[in-house]
């Protein structure tokens, strides 16, 4: 299928660019570590498992924002978006490829973040890992889409968090619900299902409307 090949070629390009530039991923790793330390000092008393679950997701969300802000920088600075838009491939392939690449970086950052969290705060369960995977899909899909929108504006980096955070609230709810687990929440599976539903719904919308974001 040529669509899959287009996505593959574009994703490969994005991954190569980041591996060469070597700035976003190290920044995300450092950011997540520092954020945890800040949390420790910012929370009076000993935070319970409930509270630190929330902190984990705040850290992941803002680390993701850091990476998402950089996603379309090469296309913006070198104007290569014009070339991608002119190519005969489906424009949604650009979004999908960029989302896959961003997902890879976010996952790489979390490979460090999760053990660090377990070290500093509380242990993590398999449900948490499932929540991380599902939430990442939503964060990267929607975040990449909005990143493309933000890049077309004057405000750029200022705008992405404003556009993204209201849409990220359902992700946070689903993720925290699943992370907190029993006995606070009767069925963490319900929250995972909610995350999956969110991912599916917004993936469809992003896929269908990316065309209008990049082309006139």
């Amino acid at each position: 299928m040529s669509y899959v090949r287009d996505v593959g070629a574009l994703a490969r390009k994005d991954l190569l660019l980041e591996l060469r530039a070597r700035d976003t991923l190290p920044a995300m790793l450092l950011f997540v570590a520092v954020t945890f330390v800040v949390f420790h000092f910012a929370l009076p008393g000993t935070p319970s498992r409930l509270e630190t679950s929330g902190l984990l997701w705040i850290a992941i969300l803002f680390t993701a924002l850091l990476g998402l802000g950089r996603a379309f920088v090469p296309e913006r600075e070198q104007r290569t978006m014009d070339a991608l838009v002119l190519a005969p491939c489906d424009r949604s392939a650009i979004w999908l490829a960029k989302s896959i690449a961003t997902l890879a970086f976010l996952a790489a950052a979390e490979v460090v973040a999760l053990p660090l969290y377990a070290l500093f705060f509380h242990s993590i369960t398999s449900t948490t890992v499932a929540a991380v995977l599902l939430a990442d899909l939503g964060i990267c899909g929607v975040g990449t889409f909005l990143g493309a929108m933000a890049v077309a504006t004057r405000a750029r980096d200022l705008l992405l968090p404003l556009l993204f955070l209201p849409l990220a609230i359902p992700i946070v709810v689903g993720a925290v619900g699943a992370t907190v687990g029993e006995p606070v929440v009767s069925s963490p599976g319900r929250y995972l299902a909610f995350l999956a539903l969110y991912d599916l719904l917004f993936a469809v919308i992003c896929w269908a409307s990316f065309e209008y974001v990049v082309a006139e």
Partner: protein, 242 residues
């Protein structure tokens, strides 16, 4: 207020559009309806058993909320028409709808806050699902404005605004579900709500208030849209001369 409405209602020749209710008639009917609603709310509707006179703000709060939803949904509908049918008038209509929605949304938050204070003594209640939902939507649509004013006017701005407006209506049910789900682990202070029994005069009053606000919203929408379209026409005329 008479001059803007008379200009907007004046006969600027339009080609091939469905006949529209003239603006002065709309303004008059919204005035009548709002007055009627006020009369009903303050004099006709019975006092609430639990909360007394102060509960009457509920009539406005709920009808304003519904009107705001209607505005956002209209905005998304116009956005869809812009993207799909390429209707050149749809972008501005979508923007004005969202703008109205935001104005009414502000009122929802204000009336909701007042109602909460009157009923339960707190200016803000995280347990009120609908209020929290409006807060999320409010922030979302504020970002809509930041987005819109950060792009030069043109087809790209119209496209970005339209797509974002569509995301907004999808967010409404998703957020609502999220807020409900969140209550399991957030445990906000819950206050038992004594909802009014919808019967008799209460229902009538509510319907009148709702109708009044919908007509008022439509009037304001037509007013703002007309003014903005006129601005656009003037600008194009000026350029044609230059």
């Amino acid at each position: 207020m008479s001059s803007p409405s008379s200009v907007a209602g004046a006969t600027i020749p339009t080609v091939g559009r469905a006949p529209r209710i003239p603006l002065p008639a709309l303004a008059a009917s919204s005035l009548v309806l709002v007055t009627t609603a006020l009369v009903f709310v303050f004099f006709v509707a019975p006092n609430d058993v639990n909360q007394g006179f102060s509960q009457r703000i509920f009539y406005f709060h709920v009808s304003i909320a519904f009107t705001a939803y209607a505005c956002f949904i209209c905005g998304a509908w116009q956005a869809l028409r812009h993207l799909w049918k390429r209707d050149p008038r749809a972008d501005l209509a979508s923007y004005v709808c969202v703008h109205q929605g935001l104005i009414f949304g502000t009122l929802v938050l204000l009336t909701g806050s007042i109602w909460a204070k009157i009923s339960w003594g707190h200016w803000w209640l995280w347990s009120e699902d609908e209020l929290v939902l409006f807060l999320v939507l409010y922030l979302f649509y504020c970002a809509y404005f930041m987005l819109r004013f950060s792009v030069e006017p043109g087809p790209q701005r119209a496209n970005l605004s339209a797509v974002y407006a569509l995301f907004g209506v999808v967010l409404i049910p998703v957020s609502f579900a999220a807020i409900r789900l969140a209550k399991t682990f957030i445990h906000p202070e819950v206050f038992t709500r004594h909802g009014p029994n919808f019967g008799g005069w209460i229902l009538v009053t509510y319907c009148i208030a709702q109708a009044a606000l919908l007509v008022l919203a439509y009037t304001l929408y037509r007013l703002e849209l007309g003014a903005k379209r006129l601005d656009g026409r003037l600008r194009r005329l000026r350029e044609a001369i230059v």
